[in-house]
Point group: C2
Chain length 235, copies 2
C-alpha cells in the first residue's frame, strides 16, 4: 500500500516524526503537499463536509483510513512496520512515551510563541525570552532527564529495550532540533544526557535514516517550524 | 477488576477526563491519592526504578498494566467499557478527537501560564492577559468550531454518531470548565456552539454522570487546576 502523508510542504514540524518512521520502515509514501497541486488536495481534505475531517496536518491516508494527530499516526504505523511491539501492553507503553514527546514539542513551540500561535514572534520577543529561560531551567531537564532515565533503566540501547521504536526516532528529532534551535545551550546540556546523545548518533547512522537525511526529502530546519534559531534566545 | 487511578487529590485537572469515563461506565475504581497514604503511593510509583515509570499523573493501574497519559488511558478504557468502537478505524478516530482535546487543554492551561508552568500566575499576569485575548479571538473559535462541525456533520447526537464516546464526555468537561473560568466570555460565545451546549446538557443529565457530579467524588473547580477563574482575564 502506498501511504499518502499530508503536511505543510516547507517545514519539518510535526510531520517530521511521521516522515522519520516511514523512512526507517522503508515504506512507500507520497508527501502529498510537496507534489504538484498537493497543497490544494490537502486543504480540500480538511474542509471535507463529512464528519471525519482532521483538525490539522499531519494526517495520513492509508487505504480508506484517514488518520490525524501525529502520535495517532505513529500508533497506527508502529506495529505494522516493526516500530512498536504487537502486544497491547507494549503498544500502550510506546504510545505513552510518544504522547510525552508530544507535550514536550508543544512546550518547545511555546518558547518562541508564549503569547499564542496567532501572533508573530516579533510581537512577543520579551515573553519568549522569559519562557525560554524557564524552559531550559526547568522543562528541558525534566523531560530529557525522564527520557534519559527510561533509556538507562531499560538497558541503554533503546527506550523500551532491545528494539528500536518510533519513540526513539522522535527523540532523535528532538536532539537534532534542540541542537539547531539552541546550539549554545544544548552543547552544555548534552553532558547531562549521554545516553540520549548516543541514541541520537546510532539512529543517525542507520542506513535508511542516513539516506533520508542526505536526501532532498529532508526539509532543512527553518524559522517557520517548531525548532527555530533565534540568537537572542540562545544565551 | 478494580482500577486504581493516580492523580493529584485536590484538582480536577487532566485526571477528570478519566474520572468521567470511569463514572459513566460504572467502573469499580479507587482514586488512590485521595485515600490515606495515597499520595505517597503515587509518588513512589513515579520514582519507580524500573523502566516503565510514568512521566506525570494521571496514570491508571489495571491489573499488572500501568498506563500513563490521559488520552492513552481513555484509549485503553474506551473499547472495554462501551465508550469507543471496538473496530480499529473507529478507535483511531475517537482517539484522534481526544488528542485534539488534549491540545486544547494545554492551550487552556497556557492562558494563565503563558511563561511556563514553573512560574506563578502572579508573575505573569500581563502576558496572561494577552494570551487569553488571543485565545478567545482565535483559538476557542478554531477548536470549538471544529468540534461543533464534527458533531453537526455526524447527526448532532454525539461526536461520532449515535453512540456516546469518551470524547463526548471530555467535551462536556471543556464546556463546564470554560463556563467556570470565563463565565462572561463563554456566555457570549455559546451562541456559536448550540450543538456542543446541547451535548453538554444531555451528558449532565445522564444518570451516572448526574450522580457523580452531585457526589463528593467530584472535586470543585479551583485556582490550582487547568480551568481557573481570574476576573481580570474574563472581560
Amino acid at each position: 500500500m502506498r501511504y499518502e502523508l499530508f503536511y505543510w510542504p516547507s517545514i519539518q514540524g510535526r510531520g517530521e516524526y511521521v516522515r522519520l518512521a516511514l523512512e526507517e520502515a522503508g515504506a512507500d509514501y507520497a508527501d502529498v503537499a510537496r507534489t504538484e497541486r498537493g497543497m490544494s488536495a490537502m486543504m480540500k481534505m480538511m474542509e471535507a463536509p463529512k464528519g471525519m475531517a482532521p483538525f490539522a496536518p499531519p494526517f495520513l491516508k492509508a487505504g480508506k483510513l484517514v488518520i490525524g494527530q501525529t502520535a495517532n499516526i505513529l500508533f497506527y504505523l508502529g506495529s505494522r512496520h516493526g516500530l512498536a511491539p504487537k502486544a497491547e501492553a507494549g503498544r500502550l507503553w510506546v504510545h505513552q512515551l510518544q504522547l510525552t514527546v508530544t507535550d514536550f514539542v508543544l512546550e518547545i513551540h511555546d518558547t518562541h510563541h508564549p503569547l499564542g500561535p496567532s501572533l508573530y514572534y516579533q510581537d512577543q520577543k520579551g515573553p519568549a525570552k522569559k519562557r525560554t529561560g524557564e524552559f531550559w531551567k526547568d522543562r528541558v531537564p525534566k523531560y530529557l532527564g525522564y527520557f534519559e532515565r527510561v533509556l538507562d533503566s531499560n538497558g541503554g540501547h533503546y527506550l523500551t529495550g532491545r528494539r528500536l521504536t518510533y519513540a526513539d526516532l522522535s527523540l532523535f528529532q528532538i536532539v537534532e532540533g534542540l541542537r539547531y534551535a539552541f546550539p549554545r545551550r544544548m552543547k552544555t546540556f548534552e553532558r547531562d544526557i549521554p545516553g540520549l546523545v548516543d541514541l541520537h548518533d546510532r539512529i543517525a547512522a542507520r542506513p535508511n535514516i542516513k539516506t533520508y537525511l542526505a536526501s532532498r526529502r529532508r526539509i532543512a530546519f527553518n524559522e517557520d517550524g517548531i525548532f527555530r534559531h533565534y540568537r537572542e534566545l540562545d544565551v
